[in-house]
Subunit: 211 residues, 2 copies
Amino acid sequence: MPDPIRLLLADDHRMLRETLKRSMLDEGFDVVGEASDGQEAVDLADELQPDVILMDVTMPEFDGVEATRRIVERRPEARIVMLTMHADQDVIASAIRAGASGYLVKDCSFDEVAATVREAISGEVSQQVAASMLREAKGLADDAESVITKREIEVLQLIADGCATPEVAEQLFISQKTVKNHLASIYAKLDARDRTQAVLQAVRMGIVRLY
Amino acid sequence: MPDPIRLLLADDHRMLRETLKRSMLDEGFDVVGEASDGQEAVDLADELQPDVILMDVTMPEFDGVEATRRIVERRPEARIVMLTMHADQDVIASAIRAGASGYLVKDCSFDEVAATVREAISGEVSQQVAASMLREAKGLADDAESVITKREIEVLQLIADGCATPEVAEQLFISQKTVKNHLASIYAKLDARDRTQAVLQAVRMGIVRLY
DNA sequence: TACGAATTGGGCCGCACGACCTATGTAGCC
DNA sequence: GGCTACATAGGTCGTGCGGCCCAATTCGTA
């Protein structure tokens, strides 16, 4: 029998982390660590050098996509499988661009999780990921256009936190006009027509957190 | 050794359902069924007569609180432990009024899950639930006020789905003015000042779904 | 160096939105 | 029969919001 695959789990919900850990151990994987936010995931990935990282998109500090970016930057050979609530095309594309090796929706079966982790090691990519990469290759502007900038994320997060335009402006030390400009840009990128839709889409994509 | 506790799991995410099932089986519980939406939970509760139901608040068809209400209506002796993402006071209160025996945030440990299920059987209630009941007993209007009506939920869901006021009115065959009246009522109940905050709060509370 | 992208701002316009008040019909309930 | 809650709808008023124009600065990078 070969050495067991060394896993790092990153998800902000302890219940899922613990039950997933038990199941993965059952399946013969070696769960070497658990992270509950993006920062911790990056730190532990550095320290433990796991074979595969199972990472949720939605996490505190910074999200799974950003964590993936930082981990891959230091260790391009790292294998990262992303987890999300919703099968969002933009998130899949972002995850792949960040360097993820696989992608799973939380509605999938546990067997799929185990299979995808093994595929990540062997270099194969799941159908979902392949399909998405194809779409990306075809050059669907949909995603090249939808690169939400850091500043735009800050604006979205503040609005999700309950701020109106003047308060967002105050918090970021910019004029209300600039906030509105950022919002207009966000609407175009997220295909939203108002702040409500923009924030909901951002929540679905995991680029904004709901406290 | 006494008979194992017969469990029904209700959560719309297959991954959590399956990993939780494995862990509960490990712990000596007998998982007799799984439901992925509110309707299925009610049906299976009827059919399988489980000792305890572990039920997520956020589910398709109708949410966990409504499912709890319907189950308890037919079988007042049913023991139901609610699961949610966020520790929202209103949701806890609603769940208890609906007849839940316990309450767990998804950030809790697996041991807490097992313990709460056992407590649900023995009739004890968790500290969280007790604290909430105390608050309710103290008569914090906060919650008597915040009974969102069916119509209000319909309005909220349509807005979450991307409808603007005229579209909500059209969908529900009412005037725009009535929609705005419902919204005003919702703002007061959810302590929100605009539709964005109202929808986000509704998502947190699990009374509205994010597709 | 020159180009594009990000970030910052301005002005203008029209409408949607939220606050506040009133009112009617229809239920359910004591 | 009254009481309360819900759903329905109207009006008015101010302003927040989004659409659409434009422009300056600072970057990284091609």
